[in-house]
Symmetry: C2
Subunit: 209 residues, 2 copies
């Protein structure tokens, strides 16, 4: 059984990551979304087990110490982590998983699972990112400035990612993400069993004939 693909997407806050993740999940129904664990509180509209698993600091530490997290990071005062079991079960069953995490987390994943596919999404400009952050009216001025600073830092740290998408128009960015996913399914390492199937089938035929 060929293992599934672990597709990791990261983007600065306001970079359109969540929209792209939802868009890809809609286009590719068999793709599973890995729900992260966090110590931050749910925002308006967020649901337990859909957007995140919300836990206390103590619960998070317990999971971390028990090795239950594939990666974890401390971002803007809260912990975020990826449950290991869900992903490993899916991948071993040959199913693909989408992971939406920050650059620190992505780098940890790449270190432990070099075959993971990491996609970094950037805004067309820092001004565009700033506009998006202001338009969604979720953050005060200090938070916006902190997010912008962190965005630059993340862009500088993204060089170990495999692919880069410039999120100028969301539809185009989604098409690109879909192309990357499609192309990765065709990688020789993952698709080679098809050659063997064609060859074996013909050997069978030769035996029958």
């Amino acid at each position: 059984m060929t293992k599934g693909i672990l597709l990791v997407i990261s983007a600065p806050s306001g970079g359109g990551k969540t929209t792209l993740a939802s868009g890809l999940l809609e286009k590719v129904p068999p793709l599973s979304y890995s729900v992260s664990v966090t110590t931050r509180s749910p925002r308006a509209g967020e649901k337990e087990g859909v957007d995140y698993y919300y836990v206390t600091e103590e619960e998070f530490k317990k999971k971390k110490d028990a090795g239950e997290l594939l990666e974890y990071a401390f971002v803007h005062g809260f912990w975020y982590g990826t449950p290991r079991d869900f992903i490993e079960e899916k991948l071993h069953a040959g199913e693909d998983v989408l992971l939406d995490i920050d650059v620190q987390g992505g780098s940890q994943i790449k270190k432990n699972s070099p075959e993971a596919v990491l996609v970094f999404i950037i805004p067309p400009s820092m001004e565009a990112l700033e506009q998006r952050l202001r338009r969604r009216q979720k953050d005060d001025e200090t938070t916006i400035q902190r997010r912008l600073k962190r965005a630059k830092q993340e862009m500088e740290e993204s060089s170990n990612y495999d692919y880069l998408i410039l999120n100028d128009k969301i539809d185009q960015a989604l098409d690109r993400l879909y192309s990357i996913y499609g192309a990765e399914k065709l990688r020789m390492g993952r698709a080679r069993s098809k050659i063997l199937a064609v060859l074996n089938e013909s050997k069978k035929e030769l035996k029958n004939g």
Copy 2:
């Protein structure tokens, strides 16, 4: 200047390689096609400088010995080779080149240019390939049997290729080839200059402000 992509496609004879190459060139006008040199005679409808450059054995040997060929192979009694200058000029100018060669040639390319992108195209079954070879009515029985034998050999030798496309339906196979090309354009190594552009622009802004 980021170097262009060298996209190599290979397929067993009758595998649909030529149709896919033409289809991709039509979808991506800036992509250039590398015309090979051969010692075989033009088939009906083939044009000098479009399908191949037709040369004598002596002329071929001269090019080969002068290092003018990026790769060459002896297939079914004839020499085939890829002119080096055309490709190197295009790639250095940041333009992408499509190369349609056999597996021996592809392996030579990969050895000398590991950043080349190699796509191998297989038929859905050996029977389908045999049917296609018979349907085009170009070959006698001995030639068909030789092509089938060689097809199996090429499939076995294709493991150093980067991607595999099963050519079941030609439109779908073309979409897949297009996805691979699109994804490769987004590889971090090739696209990273975009991040720097976004960051530098913002540094400029910081200076101005």
